[in-house]
């Protein structure tokens, strides 16, 4: 569970609609021929709601789909885009496969780690950024490349990275003032 103030606020804001989220999922599941087919969708929806796939979300996934906790857990820990631990508002995934490596992906990853003061797998103390490696994201014609949440950034340079981090911080600030 996010321990910083921002994370808890977020959770409270979204808590109100938890029943709504579950209802929508129940509705969707009731129409499915094979409910278990939806397990990734359910995990992603609950992850979106809680910020990560919490223990509670694993229990809810299992109960919604009539699966055991173990059956959900073995999927949750298998997939790269399911987070069983809290992550930052922006999950930065730096491609470390062969083409990005060839085009200077390693120094870029180092640059990001230094800039954010976190190792790969870490989350910045302000709760904004989580850094993760990712295998080839299919943008080899724009290598080196990375994903931030679901958005792709290609043809990266250290200067461009600095600029992107600033943009993301700005977007976060703007989002926060809108919420208030």
């Amino acid at each position: 569970m996010p321990r910083d103030g921002k994370g808890i606020n977020n959770k409270e804001l979204t808590m109100r609609s938890r029943e709504q989220v579950l209802d929508e999922l129940r509705q969707k599941i009731s129409q499915a021929e094979h409910p278990r087919e939806l397990v990734v969708d359910v995990m992603l929806a609950l992850q979106e709601h809680y910020g990560y796939l919490s223990d509670q979300a694993v229990e809810q996934t299992a109960s919604l789909l009539g699966m055991t906790l173990l059956e959900v857990e073995e999927l949750a820990t298998f997939y790269d885009f399911i987070y069983r631990q809290p992550v930052g508002r922006f999950v930065i995934r730096v491609c470390d496969s062969v083409v990005c490596w060839l085009e200077g992906g390693e120094p870029l990853a180092k640059h990001l780690q230094a800039k954010l003061g976190i190792p790969m797998g870490g989350t910045s103390s302000d709760g904004l950024f989580t850094l993760l490696p990712v295998c080839c994201i299919g943008y080899c014609d724009m290598a080196p490349a990375m994903l931030v949440n679901n958005r792709v950034y290609g043809n990266l340079t250290p200067e461009r990275l600095d600029q992107i981090l600033e943009e993301l911080r700005g977007a976060h600030g703007a989002g926060k003032s809108q919420e208030q």
Partner: protein, 429 residues
């Protein structure tokens, strides 16, 4: 050079997706109309067999023969799965294809469904392609509104639903039987075959799984005939066009639609603009991470399945990754092995235990702490990786084996010098 055929990417626009109207205006869905009106499922199968279309996902299995694998008296419902889980390093053609002209894939799925009697099609999309999943859902809905998807398509007796399945993200999900497990919500590890998925796939029902590029070829084959399709190729052993992805040390990395069997040299020098200034061709992977390093003496090879096989290589996904004289191939192989080790599903021992072991040896060699004994050990490891349950570890063995065979001197140089001859581990971009 003769005019290049533009088939799969003929509607490609710089910044925009081809709409349903534009696709129809360019002849789209005419194959479906004609087929539903005039052809039997057997006719469709026959035409695809005759066209010589081979699976574009990597294995190159003849598409028509796969369809024939669905027994006519087999059970229903039957399924078509379009594999858009493009995760082979160096490969981005499916992204380009669907962002250019998504209805080609939709029409291809419907035609495949008609041919094998399927009533549902599922497009399996990786999470890094979130935008692609949205495009497909929107365009499937547009096709539904136009009576092209759903019940009694174009007022015929044929009905088929299409849905998008979002993956949670893992390389192994690209393997056909693992993808079947993934869709059903079970742990996506590969299954034993036989039975083939055409016999027992999703929920034990007949299931035909294709790469999206394969499916996109089908409307064109039915509209223009098998002979036309064969004639698109440049080599006698090829059929159709191919989306080649070129990346690495070339001037113009990108996705190029060219006649199947276009010589590698022509792809690199003519279409991808040659190597960058100061770069000389040292080696390439001709078809993604699961293929062997190809050396300069093979540059004249025609890039089709059969020609590459004869040259001791594989076309794979047609993703050409180019390395220059400054690239340390031990380091490149280490990167590839790390990828495979991380992506192993952990099910069988040669893969789960073997890949980290190979990784460790390569790390030591690259760091200058390797020995001759370890070089020989890599050789036996390359062999044992091929005993794995599914194609992941044997794929990983491909670049490793060619490193040992074609770049043995480079490996030995690491041992002799006690360091990497290419200097620092990282170079600035």
């Amino acid at each position: 050079m003769r005019d290049l055929p533009r088939v799969l990417l003929r509607n490609r626009k710089p910044d925009r997706i081809t709409s349903l109207e534009e696709y129809r205006a360019s002849g789209g869905y005419r194959a479906l109309e004609t087929t539903l009106r005039e052809l039997s499922p057997q006719d469709v199968c026959g035409m695809v067999v005759d066209s010589g279309l081979q699976g574009r996902g990597g294995a190159g299995f003849p598409a028509g023969r796969k369809w024939m694998g669905v027994a006519q008296d087999g059970p229903h419902p039957r399924y078509i799965v379009a594999n858009a889980d493009e995760m082979e390093p160096g490969t981005f053609k499916d992204r380009v294809l669907i962002h250019a002209d998504p209805h080609q894939v939709i029409e291809g799925m419907l035609l495949a469904g008609y041919a094998v009697g399927a009533s549902k099609g599922i497009i399996f999309v990786r999470p890094a392609y979130g935008r692609m999943a949205e495009i497909l859902e929107r365009e499937i809905e547009a096709a539904r509104q136009a009576g092209l998807v759903g019940n009694r398509i174009l007022s015929s007796q044929f009905s088929m639903e299409l849905v998008v399945h979002r993956s949670g993200g893992r390389y192994i999900c690209g393997e056909g039987t693992a993808q079947i497990n993934a869709i059903m919500g079970t742990r996506p590890q590969p299954r034993e075959t036989p039975p083939r998925t055409t016999e027992k796939g999703l929920w034990d029902m007949p299931t035909v799984l294709h790469n999206v590029e394969t499916l996109a070829c089908v409307p064109h084959i039915l509209l223009n005939g098998p002979d036309w399709f064969k004639g698109l190729a440049k080599s006698p052993t090829g059929a159709g066009t191919k989306l080649y992805c070129v990346s690495g040390k070339v001037q113009r990395p990108g996705c190029y639609e060219l006649p199947m069997g276009t010589p590698l040299r022509e792809i690199l020098e003519h279409h991808a603009g040659g190597l960058r200034p100061g770069s000389r061709f040292k080696a390439c992977l001709p078809g993604g991470a699961s293929t062997r390093f190809l050396t300069p003496d093979c540059l004249e090879v025609e890039m089709d399945y059969e020609s590459l096989r004869r040259a001791g290589h594989r076309l794979g996904t047609g993703a050409i990754i180019v390395f220059d004289q400054d690239t340390c191939l031990v380091r490149a192989a280490l990167n590839l092995i790390r990828f495979f080790a991380r992506e192993s599903c952990g099910w069988c021992t040669p893969c789960r235990e073997g890949l980290p072991f190979v990784q460790e040896i390569l790390e030591q060699l690259e760091a200058g702490r390797g020995s001759m004994e370890q070089v020989e050990m890599l050789r036996s490891m390359a062999d044992s990786l091929c005993n794995a349950f599914c194609p992941l570890a044997p794929g990983a063995a491909q670049p490793l084996e060619s490193l040992l065979t074609c770049f043995r001197d480079e490996l030995l140089e690491h041992v002799r010098l006690g360091r990497c001859p290419y200097g620092a581990l990282e170079r600035s971009p």
